[in-house]
Symmetry: C2
């Protein structure tokens, strides 16, 4: 199994080290990851600036390729220019911090996997629930097992799996659930401060509004110590509203020729 590995925390994150090490036991791993941290970068791609690729060494050994761009850039560059062939699967992570509910929208980790899905390559995004994660071992091994299931069972073109793992010892995890994207979201607050020159600036902070209360929702499953696996896709059409809007009279003041 040829595996392309990326992330959004950057190539020097312990999350991607743990993931690459575990995956090397089950396949041929190529790492192409951002040179610097790219959290909350969403599905940004770099078009106005050129990209550079450098070789990254860890403990004196070649580990992978670093790209001075976004997670989505890394997948494009990895497939087109570095591998120059389609891998069997792309795995992005391990992210430090969960990517569930609304955070899927902002996540660079997920966007790397989504970029693969756009290229019709099966993909998995993997995150552990703590920003100071201590338990990568099970998450890394399970990402590999899920990859084997994906390659064996197949998933539709354009679909990716969003895997989130509680930051717990394996024996404290309650089980593994297929879930849906939850409705939990942020109540944003900007903290107002003054810089040393008296100018105002704002830091984004906020509180989670936790509206999910079923184990079918990714965020709630994680809160209850379950591993969450959510199939997501990039067809954003709201088909229900598409049908409703057919009865709108859209051509108001429009002057047809």
């Amino acid at each position: 199994m040829k595996i392309l590995v990326s992330n959004d925390d950057g190539i020097s994150s312990p999350g991607i080290w743990a993931l690459a090490d575990a995956l090397k036991k089950i396949g041929e791993v190529t790492v192409v990851a951002p040179l610097t941290e790219q959290s909350a970068v969403g599905h940004a791609i770099t078009m106005k600036y050129p990209l550079r690729v450098t070789e990254y060494y860890k403990d004196g050994e070649f580990f992978g390729y670093a790209v001075d761009g976004t997670p989505a850039d890394c997948i494009k560059m990895g497939v087109r220019n570095i591998l120059q062939q389609t891998p069997d699967i792309v795995i992005s992570g391990i992210n430090l911090g969960s990517n569930a509910a609304i955070n899927i929208i902002y996540s660079g980790t997920v966007s790397a996997a989504r970029e693969a899905a756009i290229m019709d390559i099966p993909a998995i995004a993997v995150s552990v629930t703590s920003h100071n994660a201590k338990h990568f071992e099970f998450a890394a091994r399970y990402a590999g097992e899920l990859a084997e299931m994906v390659v064996k069972n197949g998933i539709p073109n354009g679909t990716l799996l969003n895997l989130n793992v509680p930051d717990l010892p394996e024996e404290q995890i309650k089980g593994i659930l297929v879930t849906q994207q939850g409705k939990t979201k942020w109540d944003d607050i900007y903290q107002e401060r003054n810089d040393p020159y008296g100018n105002k600036y704002f830091w984004l902070t906020g509180n989670l509004i936790e509206t999910d209360n079923s184990l079918e929702a990714d965020h709630f499953a994680l809160k209850n110590d379950y591993v969450s696996v959510t199939p997501i896709h990039f067809d954003l059409t709201d088909y229900k509203t598409y049908e409703t809007m057919k009865s709108w009279n859209l051509e108001t003041s429009f002057k047809k020729s």
Copy 2:
């Protein structure tokens, strides 16, 4: 009607000027837009750096607020700190260049509108199909008419409308269609070059693979000189695969306590 206006081309783009001018005829307009161009920035938000807000003047008159962040940042900042109340609608644009099919994923214009949808505020993203757009007038006026329809008819919380308008005189436009996100996507190519110091760098380029052939697809409707209105949402769950995956044995090597 209280209208919050943003975009991704930046506050000094003629697209947002045309939009704001047209909307002032039908409502109370507040402009909060990126200080600099943010194309292809996706749904990035700024967390690692603080944001600053400056007043932007055009032809000696106050035009709006410039934020040194992303389109999504502008919506959060606009609603929470500048308006300090929920507008009736958010309108993002007018983008120079269409945001249809796969480009919805990369678009900063759409992400501004999506950020509003996340906040349960109705929203419209509006783009004209040319990077050297000449015909803003109808697009700007029609965005306003669509806004009035949205406020009158309602759209579900979490849904936004992605409006794309051909860059043509109004009388050459064939009609207005409710559409779905098309399947057209990019075949990426990185151009390899050397900098003046002999170091390699890569520019992202590519060709469109135009697989859409029905007027139900946004990209094809635009190619055939129709205005395209696509209802999109941010629930990324692939419900079909969610059902399929329930028959997978996910708990492989997992050791339940």
